[in-house]
């Protein structure tokens, strides 16, 4: 059995700087409009104005850094009509570009929108966990980039046993796909199944 990995992110440390996004974009030479890793901002809370000109509020905000979670139940794989999207023996979910017809089914089904169509290449693309780097004992680009040391990766079973699977807004409930993303929650983390629209930076997520 090959070793398989999970991503780990400590949301109490993540400052939303997006160094991970840019390191990934540079290293994988991703075109504009396409980022394999993204940083959603989750913000909530309200203000009350008082007669004396003062305010009280209960504002909170936090970030997550999310790529493909190489899920245990990858709905993208199920949804792929050609078998191009597949989960390898080492747990990495990846696209076989020779079989991909770019129908976007995987992207529609993935609640994280992880697979993305590269229009010039005419096939789906996605985070491959920096397979080439893992194979020579290096860290994924995003992990090695993180200025706050909020991102990491490690043996899947160990991390998931220790931290569980990401089940935090604005992500979908973990039960949907069983993501291999272990998260240390921010102190203000909201549950994943909340109905409130906490995602505050949709337009930055391409």
């Amino acid at each position: 059995m090959k070793k398989s990995y999970a991503f780990y992110m400590d949301a109490s440390r993540c400052m939303g700087c997006k160094a991970c996004v840019i390191a990934c974009k540079d290293g994988h030479d991703l075109p504009l409009g396409l980022n394999w890793r993204r940083v959603p901002e989750c913000t909530g809370g309200a203000w009350a104005e008082h007669a004396d000109g003062t305010y009280t509020q209960n504002v909170f905000s936090y970030y997550l850094s999310v790529a493909c979670n190489h899920c245990e139940s990858p709905v993208c794989v199920k949804a792929c009509p050609t078998g191009a999207m597949h989960k390898t023996e080492d747990g990495i979910v990846q696209v076989d570009a020779t079989r991909c017809v770019g129908c976007n089914n995987c992207a529609w089904n993935c609640p994280y929108s992880a697979p993305q169509l590269d229009k010039s290449k005419k096939h789906m693309t996605k985070c491959n966990f920096c397979r080439e780097r893992l194979e020579v004992g290096q860290k994924p680009l995003c992990v090695a980039a993180c200025p706050a040391r909020a991102l990491d990766f490690g043996p899947r079973e160990e991390l998931i046993a220790k931290y569980g699977r990401a089940n935090i807004a604005p992500l979908p409930p973990a039960s949907m796909t069983e993501p291999n993303l272990a998260v240390v929650a921010h102190k203000d983390a909201q549950p994943a199944n909340t109905r409130k629209p906490f995602l505050a930076n949709k337009e930055e997520l391409s």
Partner: protein, 813 residues
């Protein structure tokens, strides 16, 4: 809308409520429409670059306060991608940790090979500012510049030649601004402003209060040694984002000390997200009111450190007032309402100004008064205000009242503190020109330099400035247009070519300032010149990087080489080079500076280059405790103030306040002690607010360093320039999230997308500074440049830039 496919998950949550990334947005489309092709990017890089590639050592050396290590992967002289530092295992406690670059540094390849990168020297062909240029040779460009330098020197004097404040290259022995300084010093001198655009008000305020200006306190990592840290406007997470810098240090220090951190800021910054235990929103420009009310509670509830104040402070109360002044001019009299304004600075008084409930102010004072040590510090924003000197002093006064100065885990209330290792610089020599104007007033010096006096304009080294600025050298900076207040005023002055006769801009990109040049020189970037680089000012580590360059882009050149060529034409080559080549200088500095400071370095620079980066341990518990000697024995170790003490009443300021000629506008006064001053275009400017009811600040933005990296499309798509507005203000105006709005006042108009977010206080908007000015034919800015709206009016004491003091209105298109 996307098709809603069936739900594969076990949960019954509707897909509509689930986060769905991948929605194409208007902002995205506009980034795409910049039309940035990939002409200079590697043609195709189907597979990611492999990890066994060779890396060069290089840096990002801009003015974010940090320096970061970049490790470019190079093929045929071109950067294929950049990695960052991974040379050590992180050990924060020992001061050894990876100097990981932020997203800006990581975008370097895209930045370097962008279509707006300058390739050749250019000469203006249209009207100044028209952006019309033609390509010329280096020969012609340097000939023109040298000729004009000589002409200006002869006709108007050396004082007419100005090197404009610029910080696009903040570290590096040879790539910084010293090359031109050295050239001009050898030519008889040049005009150089005092202070800067970053912290002028702080530098002046602290000089009178503590006798010392500029990051004078304990390194911010010292919060590891206290249970309570209070950050007045300090946003370290966004402004010091380097993985080798303060953001990381403060995360670690807070964890080590289990330190409670309170952040006071109009915005719920990223610092609030990762560092703060509590956020206290405050109206811009009212920090001195808050500080005064905190002092009121400290005094009235007996929480002042009387022992410390008695021995270390002048002018706290009547008993420590210097002779010859009315006793009720003391700080305490001001606070309690027994002074000239007869207004007690109660929490209720401050509540109405700051927007902070009185109960919270009282509680905060008790927290501060009850903790010893308490690390009190401030950010740079609250001093970049109309009465910024007072904000900075009033906050720092709290550290004196509570006796936290000179303590491990305490602080003197100044800006974030640092202790960076030494790195060498090209010796600039001495400037024979002694008369200096405040940096922010350079444009005034263009139009009426000879009318500028010490009492009216803060001229130093002379009673009157001797010349008008006729020649501007602007290397690696954007203060010529973009970063200077009131762009429309700047345009008016600069468009008259009989005033400033020549503007030379040397930079890497066609910036908003370069558009206004007569001659544009293409500069080699950080990665395209060999240098010696160490940590920038806002770091606490000791390391040195010896960089190896890639091929310069087209005809771009290092500034040092350009200055050598100018020296030749000016007949001072020998004096300029001292017979050394560029490489000789680096070797000389290696020997005389680097090896002295870090004796473990290899014998030769060549060997050091092979390794690239050297770090030295420095235990975080051994970082300096500033003012400790003064604390222990204030008589033997006096401060550099006239009394040798912390001056809560300053006779010098008292004189200045009586003698300086100040424009008669609200807030233009200089009290002798830290006080709250209501100002023009502040919260209390009722007249101004009747027309333009919103206070606009111009916070730093993580997508740029000031205006650096502002045009990188990779950054813009994930960090677009937007105006932040509170939902309450948006509702009143019928404005929705992400719509394009008009932001305007009497000085200009900006069209910009709005982020409706509770992360900013009601009544306040922020237009992050640094986005590049893009005017249309009507002068409406579509680039989101905050200086379209700022006012060119200096603060009273420092004559600094009050770019967070603005009133605007926002409306739908």
């Amino acid at each position: 809308m996307k098709k809603n496919h069936s739900n594969h998950g076990a949960h019954s949550v509707s897909r509509r409520n689930v986060l769905k990334f991948g929605v194409a947005s208007g902002a995205m489309a506009s980034v795409g429409s910049l039309g940035l092709g990939s002409i200079f990017c590697p043609a195709a890089q189907a597979a990611p670059a492999l990890p066994h590639e060779d890396f060069l050592t290089s840096v990002c050396a801009n003015n974010c306060g940090s320096t970061c290590i970049l490790r470019p992967v190079v093929q045929e002289g071109r950067v294929m991608r950049v990695d960052t530092d991974n040379s050590v295992e992180d050990n924060w406690q020992e001061g050894i940790f990876q100097v990981r670059a932020c997203p800006r540094g990581r975008s370097m390849r895209r930045h370097m090979y962008a279509p707006n990168r300058l390739q050749y020297p250019l000469k203006r062909t249209g009207e100044r500012g028209s952006g019309k240029f033609e390509r010329i040779s280096w020969e012609e460009a340097l000939g023109t510049i040298a000729g004009k330098l000589v002409e200006c020197k002869t006709k108007y004097g050396n004082e007419s030649i100005c090197s404009l404040y610029a910080s696009g290259v903040q570290v590096g022995a040879l790539m910084r601004r010293e090359s031109f300084y050295r050239l001009m010093n050898l030519m008889g001198g040049f005009a150089l402003g005092t202070s800067d655009y970053s912290s002028a008000q702080n530098q002046y305020g602290m000089k009178y209060l503590y006798g010392q200006s500029g990051y004078s306190g304990n390194p911010t990592s010292d919060i590891a040694h206290t249970k309570l840290a209070v950050f007045f406007g300090l946003n370290i997470t966004e402004t010091r984002m380097s993985g080798g810098g303060l953001q990381y240090e403060v995360l670690e220090a807070k964890r080590k000390g289990n330190t409670r951190v309170i952040v006071i800021d109009p915005r719920y910054t990223d610092t609030c997200i990762t560092i703060a235990d509590e956020w206290i929103p405050i109206r811009p420009g009212t920090d001195a009111a808050l500080a005064s009310a905190l002092a009121y509670v400290l005094i009235t509830e007996n929480m002042v450190d009387n022992d410390f104040v008695r021995t270390h402070v002048q002018g706290f109360d009547a008993s420590s007032m210097p002779e010859g002044f009315a006793p009720n001019l003391s700080y305490k009299d001001y606070i309690l309402g027994t002074g000239e304004d007869a207004t007690p600075k109660t929490p209720q008084w401050a509540a109405a100004l700051t927007g902070i409930p009185a109960t919270r102010i009282i509680q905060l004072a008790r927290e501060i008064g009850g903790a010893k040590p308490c690390y009190i510090t401030q950010g740079w924003g609250l001093q970049r205000q109309a009465a910024g000197e007072m904000n900075t002093m009033a906050v720092a006064a709290l550290a004196a009242l509570t006796g936290n100065v000179g303590l491990r885990g305490g602080n003197n209330g100044d800006l974030d503190g640092y202790s960076p290792g030494v790195s060498p610089r090209l010796p600039a020599g001495t400037n024979p020109v002694k008369a200096r104007f405040p940096t922010f007033l350079w444009l005034r010096a263009v139009e009426r330099g000879t009318e500028m006096t010490a009492l009216r304009d803060g001229i130093q080294g002379a009673d009157r400035f001797p010349a008008n600025i006729k020649f501007i050298w602007n290397y690696a900076g954007n203060c010529l247009v973009n970063q200077h207040s009131d762009i429309n005023e700047t345009r008016r002055v600069l468009s008259d070519t009989s005033k400033c006769e020549m503007i030379v801009v040397m930079d890497t990109h066609m910036t908003a300032s370069a558009q206004w040049a007569d001659i544009v020189l293409p500069s080699a970037s950080y990665l395209e010149q060999p240098d010696i680089v160490g940590p920038s000012y806002a770091m606490n580590t000791d390391w040195l990087a010896f960089t190896t360059p890639v091929k310069p882009f087209f005809e771009s050149r290092p500034v040092y080489d350009v200055c050598v060529d100018l020296a030749k034409r000016l007949g001072i080559e020998k004096e300029f080079t001292e017979g050394r080549s560029r490489e000789d200088w680096l070797e000389y500095l290696y020997e005389t500076n680097c090896r002295k400071n870090m004796p473990t370095l290899p014998e030769t620079l060549a060997e050091a280059r092979k390794v690239g980066l050297f770090m030295r341990a420095k235990n975080r518990d051994a970082l300096p405790v500033r003012f400790a000697d003064f604390r222990n024995d204030p008589v033997a170790n006096p401060l550099k103030t006239p009394s040798g003490k912390i001056e809560l009443f300053s006779p010098a300021l008292h004189t200045i306040g009586k003698t300086w000629e100040l424009e008669p506008v609200l807030g233009n006064r200089i009290p002798p002690s830290p006080q709250y001053v209501a100002t023009w275009e502040g919260f209390e400017d009722k007249e101004g607010k009747a027309k333009f009811p919103l206070q606009m600040i111009t916070s730093h933005y993580k997508g740029r360093t000031h205006s650096h990296y502002a045009s990188v499309d990779w950054l813009l798509e994930v960090m677009p320039q937007v105006l932040w507005m509170n939902p309450l203000d948006a509702q009143k105006r019928g404005i929705e999230h992400n719509e394009i709005v008009r932001v305007f006042n009497g000085r200009g108009e900006v069209r910009i997308a709005v982020k409706v977010t509770p992360r900013i206080m009601p009544g306040v908007v922020t237009m992050p500074q640094g986005a590049w000015y893009k005017p249309d034919a009507n002068g409406v800015d579509h680039g989101g440049c905050a200086n379209t709206l700022t006012l060119y009016r200096p603060s009273p004491l420092a004559k600094g830039n009050p770019q967070h003091t603005n009133l605007v209105e926002v409306s739908k298109l």
